[in-house]
Each structure stands twice: as C-alpha cells, then as structure tokens.
C-alpha cells in the first residue's frame, strides 16, 4: 500500500505577535483523504506550508511514517503540493511542466515520456500535451498541476483549495475526479478547503479548525451529526440552536425550559444535571413544517411549536422557511420537495404554521454546569 501516515505533533506558529497555529496535533492515516476545514484566516494554508517545508514552525514536529521531516528542505520531502493558483511554469509546455520533476531526477527520455503520458491521461489531458499554460482553461491548468504533482509518486499530496478558482459546476466535477484519482493512486491526500460541502462530500475524515486550533476531527457524518461545539455546528451546514435551563432529567431524555417557548425535550448526548445550561442544535432539514396541527404517532417526546412564516426562499429542490416562533426566536426549516410541490397544501408568507422534530434528531452540543 502506498501513501504515508502523517503525524502532526503539537505544532505552534506565530507571525510576529499573532499566534497562527496553537498546539495543532493530527494523525492522518495511510492513504486517507483528509480535509482541513475552517474559515478564512484560521491557519489552514500555514499548516500545509509547514508540512510542505515552506514555513518553519516555532515548535512541534511532523513525521512521515515515524520519521521526522521537520529539518528537511521542501525538495527533500516526499510530499507534493497542488497550489491554489496552479503555479504552472509559464515558459514550459504542458508536457515539459509535467516532465520538470522527472528531468530534475535525470530520468531517461523514455521513462519521462512514459510517465508524463501516463499521468496526463489520468487527468484526461492527452490531447493538450503541446499547449502552453496560457492556452489552457482554469480547469485544465489545475489538471496539469495535479499530474505534475503526482508524477513523482509522492507519499502525500497536499491540496490547498485546489478548486476555489473554478466555477460551481466544474468544481463538482473536479471534486469527483479528485476522488477517483485518490482511489487510483492510493496515497494520502490532505485537502484544505473552507467549503464544507467539498470537505464533507469526499473526505474520509475532516478536521475543523478555527483561529489556529483544531476543534474536532471526525468522519463527515460525525462532524455533521454530532458537532463538537457550537462553532462546528454553526460552521458546518446550517443549523438552529435552542438553549435553556435543564428542569428535569431521566435516563435518556432531559427537559429544558426555553425562554418564550416553554419546555423542550432533548436527548442526553452528554451527561447533564438539573439546573445546567444546555444548548441543542437541530438541523433545518430535520424539522417538519405544516399548516395543520400534526398528528404525531410513535414519538411521544416530540414537542410541537407554533410560529409565523417570516420569509420563504424557493430553491427548486427545497424551500427554506424562516419561522418566527411566538417568542421572536427565528427558526430555519428546510422542506424537501419530494413531490411536485403544488400537490401539497402550499405554505405562504405570514401563514401561521406548526413545526416539530424528533428529539433524537437534535444534538446536545454544549453543557454549562450551573
């Protein structure tokens, strides 16, 4: 099996006065598609540049398969980078760009020719071998840079927002292609992005970063369904928070009192005592919305709330409702259109509605003991 285990151990980095990375530790498995996800400026690029060797950390260590690489020059590390701006050499043709690393290794012309063609056909660019970078589209340039980074068969491929310069459609397409390239070459991918859709859709695991700190590491569904804290819940996808004081607890369920709403049931994803302050996240797509009072069977703990539609956005496959509860709390509710939506009783602006969800679909993100 190709690829390396990447061990990032307690990395700290400051630029001047500002601390950019704060005790960052990660263990990335062999052959994993690992994403670093976080808002702009949280230090993703800096961490990637430390792994590639362009930046020296103030403290900490990076190991590839148990060997420290922290003192190696960038050209001595078996790690290659896909740059956000492609960084193709403008004076060299597509062929020569991909051949560049092989020529540095003084490979024979025959091997160079074989390898270059092999990787250019992997990224479907066989027909553009003779072109100069300036004659390529953005997506094609990105493919060249992928072929160029893979031709040396590195142990780890670092990708710094490789798709951010492409339009939405092409982005989707390239993402799928990246995934299939990952399956073909089998090496470790570390993929930096601030787009949670991208991260969730292809990664084996995701690390969510914020202000130089790793907040949570987990599979996409762990990150989405059981966010480690409110920031992660809010950053990944869209969500609603309900917060209040715990009034009673039994072995599986708790009840909290929410200002202006009243009693709301929640599952005890974490240990909780009566009197604690708790915050629960409920994803908008897990909330149901109707005009008539719902008949709920089999979910005795479900609480029905009523409110008024403040705003609705029709996006084709779903409608996003922004519902004002009596207390002025705003709730997002996404209704998926599984049928032609005219068949259903339409909900309009300013309509009074009922919303409800199964407490098992919420997640207790934070507990503050009181």
């Amino acid at each position: 099996m190709k690829g390396s285990v990447v061990l990032i151990n307690d990395i700290n980095k400051s630029f001047g006065e500002s601390r950019i990375l704060n005790n960052v530790s990660l263990e990335i498995k062999k052959g994993e598609f690992f994403s670093l996800l976080g808002p702009s400026g949280c230090g993703k690029t800096t961490l990637l540049r430390i792994i590639a060797g362009f930046e020296t950390p103030d403290s900490g260590d990076i190991k590839l398969d148990n060997t420290s690489i922290i003192n190696l020059q960038p050209n001595e590390r078996h790690v290659n980078t896909i740059f956000q701006n492609y960084a193709l050499f403008p004076h060299l043709s597509v062929y020569e760009n991909v051949a560049f690393p092989l020529r540095l290794q003084k490979k024979s012309e025959k091997i160079i020719n074989e390898e270059v063609r092999k990787y250019l056909s992997m990224v479907k660019l066989e027909d553009h071998i003779k072109k100069m970078p300036s004659q390529l589209s953005g997506g094609q340039k990105q493919r060249v840079s992928i072929a160029r980074a893979l031709v040396l068969q590195p142990n780890v491929l670092l990708l710094d927002e490789p798709l951010s310069a492409l339009d939405a459609k092409l982005r989707q397409h390239m993402l799928i292609e990246l995934d299939s390239i990952h399956d073909q070459v089998g090496i470790t991918f570390i993929f930096v992005t601030h787009d949670q859709q991208e991260a969730l859709s292809v990664s084996d695991r995701v690390a969510v970063m914020h202000q130089g700190v790793v907040l949570q590491v987990g599979t996409p569904s762990q990150i989405y369904e059981s966010p480690g804290n409110s920031f992660v819940a809010d950053f990944i996808g869209e969500t609603n928070f309900i917060e209040g004081t715990v009034v009673s607890v039994d072995d599986k369920m708790g009840v909290m009192n929410v200002d202006g709403i009243g009693k709301v049931n929640f599952y005890l994803d974490k240990p909780v005592k009566t009197g604690d302050f708790v915050r629960v996240t409920v994803r908008p797509e897990k909330i149901r919305i109707t005009k008539e009072y719902p008949k709920i069977e089999g979910h005795p703990h479900t609480i029905v709330l009523n409110g008024i539609v403040d705003e609705l956005i029709y996006t084709g496959f779903q409608t996003k409702f922004f519902v004002h509860l009596d207390s002025k709390v705003l709730f997002k509710v996404f209704k998926q259109h599984v049928k032609y939506f005219m068949d259903e009783t339409p909900i309009n602006w300013k309509d009074p509605v009922y919303i409800w969800w199964n407490p098992a679909d919420g997640y207790l993100v934070e507990v503050e003991p009181r």
Binding site: F54, T81, F89, Y95
Partner: protein, 282 residues
C-alpha cells in the same frame, strides 16, 4: 465622405522627429561612405568604395574586437549586478526609495560623473589615498587609463538602464513558482536557473540591449578613462573625422557599426524567440 486617418495625424510629430534626427543623418552617413574624401575634411561628389576598402586592415579589426570584448564584459558584469539588485528592490518594502536612488545619478551630467570616477581612481585619487593611508599598498596603483577603468565606468553608467527593465519584470514575476519548483524537487540553485531566470527573460533581454548597444558606441568613456591605447570604434570614428579628416572612412565605420548592431539585435531577439517556440513543439 472620406475618412480622415487620425492615426497618421497623431503620429506626425514623432514621424517628423525620427525623419529629421535619425533617418536623414543616417542616410547622409550612408551616402558619404560611398564618396571620395576631400583633403581637409568634407567629401568630393564622386562614387568610390575607398571608405570600405580602407576598413580591411588589421588595426580596424583589432579595434572592433576590443570594442566587442569590452562591451560583452561590461554587459555581463552589469547584468550580474543588476539582477540581484532588481530582485532586492522588487521584494523590498521600500521600492520607491530604492528606485529613486537608482535614478538619482541622472541628475548629474554624464561627463561630470566620469570626472568623478577619475578623481576616485586616479593616482592621487580617493581610492589610492585610502589604500596608502591604510598601509595596504606602498605606491599608488595604476587604476585609471586602461581597459578595466573603461569596464568599471561603463558598468556604472549603464547599471540604471539595466536595473529598471529588470525591476519591472521581476516585480511581475510570480514567486510562488519558485516554491512550486522546490516542491517538485529542485534545489535553490536549480529553481533559480530553471524557473527564475527563464521567467524574467524579457527583462534580461531588454537590459542586455540597453547596456550592450550603448557600450558598443562608447566614445567619452574610453576617451577620458581608457588611456592612449584603449581605442574603441567610437574613438576611431572621431579620429577619422577630426584628425585625419577622412569623412568617407568615418562614415563607412559608422555604417559598419550600425549594420553590425542591427544584425546583432535581430539575431539575439530571434534566437530567444525560437528557443521558446521550440519548447512548444516537442
């Protein structure tokens, strides 16, 4: 209605300027080079190729050789100094200050700056006095009136002309390409030679032309700091014009200088172009 060609009107002043100060003088020189010489200067209106046959002698070729060698050395040294300097300026935070310093010498007359060099390099000059007082040398060094002095002053004179075009290309150079090269296995030196220098090729070419061409036509520098033996083509032309009063010969030398330079630039620009086009082919 007939369309007025505004382009021609707008470029008229420039066309006139070039005609009066470049085309006409060059044509006169070309014409004179095929005439007979008058005894005390001027020309006789009789066709002759004496001007050119007189060129075919060893001393003229020697001067041409000397001029070319000096110019090549001076250009090479200028680039060697100008590339790191421009790199430094382009990457520094105080670009404007440094660019200003590069341009400052233009405020002083060219000849006065040459005399400044004489007072630095002369037997009784600043450099010799300093070395003497430090006890590094016992008697003054002969720093002036040789080909080295010509090279030093030529490099000094044309350095700003090389720095400015190099600066403007280096400023536009994408430095992340060097990181990409390092990432792909290039050492620092390899990324310099394989990526950086090819990347600023157009700046290097401009700087080369801006230094080499005026160096070929040097007159004042070899005259003032070159000494008796250091004759460059410019000095030879002046001598034929003013001392031996052989105007057709002076003209034929000028024609040769112009033609050689033009062909030189043409070949230089074309080989560079071909090289980059060849890379597309394979």
């Amino acid at each position: 209605m007939k369309k007025i060609n505004y382009g021609k009107i707008y470029t008229a002043p420039l066309t006139m300027w070039i005609t009066f100060f470049f085309v006409i003088p060059t044509s006169i020189i070309f014409l004179y080079s095929f005439l007979k010489k008058k005894l005390r200067g001027g020309v006789l209106w009789e066709f002759s190729i004496d001007g050119y046959t007189a060129l075919i002698n060893q001393s003229f070729f020697k001067v041409v050789w000397f001029t070319v060698v000096i110019s090549i050395f001076a250009t090479f040294l200028t680039l060697l100094l100008a590339i790191p300097t421009s790199y430094f300026i382009a990457r520094s935070k105080r670009k404007n200050l440094y660019l200003f310093l590069v341009i400052v010498p233009f405020w002083t007359n060219f000849l006065i700056r040459i005399f400044a060099w004489i007072s630095i390099l002369g037997n009784n000059g600043f450099l010799n006095n300093m070395l003497l007082s430090l006890g590094i040398i016992k008697s003054p060094l002969m720093l002036l009136y040789n080909q080295y002095a010509i090279i030093v002053v030529t490099v000094y004179t044309y350095l700003p002309y090389a720095i400015l075009p190099l600066y403007s290309t280096i400023e536009k150079f994408d430095f992340s390409l060097l990181e990409a090269a390092r990432d792909l296995g290039a050492s620092k030196l390899q990324s310099l030679f394989k990526i950086f220098l090819p990347g600023i090729r157009s700046g290097i070419m401009t700087a080369t032309i801006f230094t080499f061409i005026p160096a070929l036509g040097s007159y004042a520098i070899p005259l003032l700091v070159g000494g008796q033996k250091s004759f460059m083509i410019g000095n030879l032309i002046a001598r034929e014009l003013k001392v031996t009063m052989n105007w057709p010969l002076a003209s034929s030398m000028s024609v040769v200088l112009t033609v050689v330079t033009t062909i030189g630039i043409f070949i230089f620009l074309n080989t560079n172009k071909n090289k980059s086009e060849l890379k597309n082919e394979n």
